[in-house]
Symmetry: D2
Subunit: 140 residues, 4 copies
């Protein structure tokens, strides 16, 4: 049986204030698009910032890797696809693919890793209960 | 006797990621420069974000007026001058002048007004004690 | 005969990276929302950044006035209403009202003024032809 | 003979508007700090944005990898160390280490790769002349 693919896709239109002096989306702004994609995934599948917080945790990014394939310009509409990467560890991993809606060009590939921190600032080394239950419920 | 002029000046160099598609500092980024100027004033004169917070208050901006005089470009060094505007009310008011270091050109004039909110979210209609004492100590 | 009301409304959902240390939309980020609103107006009514540019002009902001009425939080959906303010002068003026979708609360009122600059950097003191024609065509 | 270490260090103080809802520097803002560090390196050693541009090229980021070690808070002063990574290829590579000034804690490690694009948008597969000369002059 195939592992189900947990994926969410959002649209983002590039604003004037997001492009740089050469009229392209400034490379740092993609981090915002990834966060919007990750949060939209979380809202669809029950792993949003607030649902993690209400279970007693923050989930800070500890690793972020961006591979820029093509540039994108003001007015381009981008599709941000966020995919959950299965793991048994006490962390969250996502892969991202950003494509341009008009021509399907791949603009960016990225991956992120998050760990869990309790509200008093301690890293959680075992899988939080809510996450274990979420994985079981989703068979992932 | 003259009222002393409570003024602080900081330098900000314009970064690549702050300019827009026509190579100029994007007009919204000046709001960051004003906040840096206001915070530097606060640190010099004892009205910083943290000193206000430690006295039990937030001081949200309720009015912000920006008048753009000239554009500024990547690499320009700007001087942000923040001046306290005396008032007897339960608010903070500042005037700002941003000039370019190289030629002294006036780039922006601005003014801001802040009110006081308690940590449980209530607007404070009377002058907070710490602010009354600060005004007396500074004869302003 | 009434002057027609030239208005456009967009939705913006507040992202995690847009809120500040007290969980509210940072006051400077509203400038981005206003620009998105103004550009959406421009695309609907034929005054977008690119249509102005293709007529030989930039239209830099020279005056921006923001009045903050209530704070807004991560996840709030805001409605940005942009209204054209009629004038016979060589400038563009807009009024803005931002409301929260969930309860209709007014969050921000703002106004902006733009002048016209030719591509070689000269301010245009007479109404550009394209704008005069646009006003006539729209009877505004 | 040792290869000289080409390194530049800048200071950045974290602003209020750069922290997120949990009072920490938002993880995407580090990309700005890295760009400021890289540009300061470029200005010291002759590889700035403008010097590359004046030689006929842009140098877009094609790979960016960030490893977050500790969080940093509003008011923290960070040291951004940018180090040139020698290569014979038609690209630029930098390593970065961000530490907190107060306690020397390592906050972030990162690396970036840039390629060269001509002004008409073509990727340059051979080492640009100006870069070959720069490498020879610096024996790197």
């Amino acid at each position: 049986m195939d592992t189900p693919k947990f994926t969410n896709t959002i649209k983002k239109k590039i604003s004037f204030y997001e492009v740089d002096a050469i009229h392209m989306l400034w490379h740092g702004n993609y981090v915002k698009y990834l966060e919007d994609g990750r949060e939209a995934f979380g809202e669809e599948f029950g792993l949003s910032y607030m649902s993690i917080f209400n279970n007693g945790y923050f989930a800070p990014i500890v690793d972020l890797h961006l591979k820029y394939k093509k540039t994108a310009s003001m007015g381009d509409v981008l599709l941000v696809e966020t995919t959950y990467v299965p793991t048994k560890s006490a962390k969250l991993m996502f892969d991202y693919t950003i494509t341009r809606e008009s021509d399907g060009a791949t603009i960016l590939k990225a991956s992120s890793t998050q760990l869990f921190v309790t509200k008093d600032g301690r890293f959680e080394v075992t899988v939080p209960n809510f996450l274990r239950e979420w994985r079981e419920a989703n068979n992932i």
